[in-house]
């Protein structure tokens, strides 16, 4: 739908866009993102020729926009800006009907379209007669969006449209734009500097730096396969998927409750009570796994409180190995109804524990990313 072919844009010797090649497919919501000064807004404004490229070609709907009257072009491309830019002296209805008016639609057609539009965003009809200053910021930007949709342009450009809204309003508008996009199948090019927003709404994220594309990919791909250090840094490590739940090391937790075999029974019971666990993994003084004891075992034994754990008869267990497949361990825990398994390295040293909740947590991270 939108093709950039070797597009360069420079102010004198300062290169803003550097031989950019980009293809935005029909019906996709593509987010341009990057640090300020990376050229994302410039890229957007090249599409409706608010800015003219120094070199290269831009094709919109297979037409080279060099050969199109910019005013005509802009009427066919929706445009939503951060500052909203509703006209304060016009009613909401008049604001929505600006482009239809420029295109010379008759009153009837304009009115019918406006009715259709206002229903898209769950705004009451009564707002049509009001003036922009009587609406909240969120409502104003909804109108800004409707204004861009008025003549059903196949392409809509959005320049940080939700940047000035409070977080709650922003979130609800993000949801709306995703829903609208699904329904209306518009091609949307969306500029933001907010990675969370990008991940939430984008079919494809184009990360830019110094007028160049660093990586362009679906958000999942970007998060699991960042192209380089810059991408990783920009996305923020906390958002990156550890990506996997392949091996035991991926799904284990290091919060294991161990006791040395020389610990007295009374101390072992106190430890279990404190950690709220029904059993302990027993290790020697070099953290080698010895086995486990349960609270039941201690209760049934007739030993004195001061006797050491090792005297009770430690139950041998087969641990999980850190590089073993997580799937295997999970299946075994299911089959043998085990709640927790110690994880050891090649030297039989205890390094962690796999529990049902540690597995769930790791899987959640793969699905939703690390939110903490």
């Amino acid at each position: 739908m939108v093709h950039f072919v070797n597009v360069t844009m420079a102010y004198g010797s300062h290169i803003v866009i550097d031989k950019l090649n980009l293809h935005v497919e029909e019906g996709q919501l593509v987010v341009l993102i990057g640090p300020s000064g990376c050229g994302k807004t410039t890229t957007l404004q090249l599409i409706n020729r608010l800015i003219k490229p120094t070199e290269g070609d831009i094709l919109v709907n297979r037409q080279n926009i060099k050969n199109v009257d910019p005013v005509e072009l802009r009427r066919k491309v929706g445009y939503v800006i951060q500052e909203i830019g509703l006209f304060p002296h016009m009613t909401i209805k008049q604001n929505i009907e600006i482009v239809p008016r420029l295109l010379g639609w008759d009153e009837e057609r304009k009115a019918a379209r406006t009715e259709e539009l206002i229903q898209l965003v769950n705004l009451d009809r009564k707002y049509l007669k009001r003036y922009p200053s009587e609406l909240s910021g969120g409502q104003q930007q909804r109108i800004g969006l409707l204004r861009a949709l008025a003549v059903e342009p196949p392409i809509i450009l959005m320049d940080e449209p939700f940047g000035a809204l409070d977080p709650i309003t922003r979130e609800s508008l993000q949801n709306e734009i995703v829903a609208l996009q699904k329904r209306l199948k518009k091609t949307i090019v969306f500029v933001t500097h907010d990675m969370d927003e990008a991940i939430k709404i984008a079919d494809r994220i184009v990360l830019m730096k110094d007028g160049k594309i660093v990586q362009a990919a679906a958000s999942k791909e970007l998060l699991s396969n960042p192209a380089n250090e810059f991408v990783e840094q920009f996305i923020g490590r906390h958002r990156l998927y550890s990506g996997k739940a392949d091996t035991v090391a991926d799904v284990m937790s290091d919060e294991i409750v161990c006791a040395e075999k020389t610990l007295s029974l009374i101390e072992a019971v106190a430890l279990m009570r404190h950690k709220k666990v029904p059993g302990l993994f027993v290790i020697d003084d070099t953290k080698k796994l010895q086995g486990k004891v349960s609270i039941e075992q201690i209760r049934k034994s007739e030993l004195s409180e001061q006797d050491a754990l090792e005297t009770i008869g430690i139950e041998q267990i087969c641990p999980a190995f850190e590089n073993q497949s997580a799937r295997e361990v999970f299946d075994r825990m299911e089959a043998e109804k085990i709640d927790a398994l110690p994880v050891v390295d090649e030297a039989n040293t205890v390094i962690g524990v796999v529990t049902r909740s540690s597995i769930v947590r790791s899987l959640a991270e793969v699905v939703w990313g690390n939110q903490s």
């Binding site: 409706n48 608010l50 005013v71 005509e72 072009l73 802009r74 009427r75 066919k76 445009y79 800006i81 500052e83 909203i84 830019g85 509703l86 006209f87 304060p88 002296h89 600006i98 482009v99 420029l102 003036y131 922009p132 200053s133 909240s136 910021g137 104003q140 800004g144 204004r147 861009a148 450009l157 000035a164």
Partner: protein, 215 residues
């Protein structure tokens, strides 16, 4: 007071004619002023440097006492209605030009950004966005000009322009204080009336402009 009213009723016919002349003189000057100053003000917004020069020149002109300018007008253009009108017209230009220029310059750039992005061409932007939003400032300029012109039109009598200044002038020459009032009171009322009317218009035009749209 009563002798003023006697004087007024004795001269009522002359006063009415003078009021008519006064309004005619001012109205022609101000209408010509609007016709010229508004388009020039708009043009100046496209060229900031030219704007500075033109507005500068007119500021200087407007500091020349009107009586002096009227004197020059008499020397070069003779006496009568037309030279008086021309002088008043020249005086009316600056406030209207400045009002138009600043009004349009101060239109919220976001509205312009949106207008351009939606595919308005220059004339459409001017007609649909810049002009309506600049209207309060333009009318403020017109109001200022009109009030100046109404009061300065009294001086037009010096070069035979007619109007209420004639009565004042005659009254001064004949030490007839009440005759002076016959000219001065209507001029004052006229000024206040016009000021009130235009203020009302400004309020109407800026109804929605006062509350800026959230950005």
């Amino acid at each position: 007071m009563s002798s003023f009213l006697t004087e007024l009723s004795r001269n009522s016919h002359a006063v009415l004619i003078a009021i008519g002349q006064h309004i005619g003189l001012s109205a022609v000057a101000i209408l010509l002023g609007i016709l010229v100053a508004v388009p020039v003000g708009v043009l100046l917004t496209y060229h900031t440097r030219a704007a500075k020069i033109v507005l500068g020149i007119f500021s200087v002109v407007n500091t020349i006492p009107s009586i002096v300018l009227l004197g020059f007008a008499m020397i070069f253009l003779g006496i009568g209605y037309i030279p008086a009108t021309i002088v008043l017209f020249v005086y009316s230009l600056l406030p209207i030009m400045r009002g138009t220029y600043t009004g349009i310059k101060e239109v919220n750039p976001n509205a312009l950004k949106a207008a351009k992005g939606m595919g308005m061409n220059r004339p459409q932007m001017l007609r649909l966005v810049q002009f309506p939003l600049a209207m309060p400032a333009i009318i403020t300029g017109i109001r200022l000009s009109t009030i100046y012109i109404i009061s300065w039109a009294t001086l037009a009598a010096f070069i035979g322009g007619g109007g209420l200044g004639d009565l004042i002038w005659m009254g001064l020459q004949s030490y007839n204080f009440h005759l002076v009032l016959c000219g001065a009171v209507p001029v004052t009322i006229l000024s206040l009336l016009v000021s009130f009317l235009l203020n009302h218009l400004i309020k109407r035009a800026s109804r929605h402009k006062g509350k800026e749209v959230a950005t």
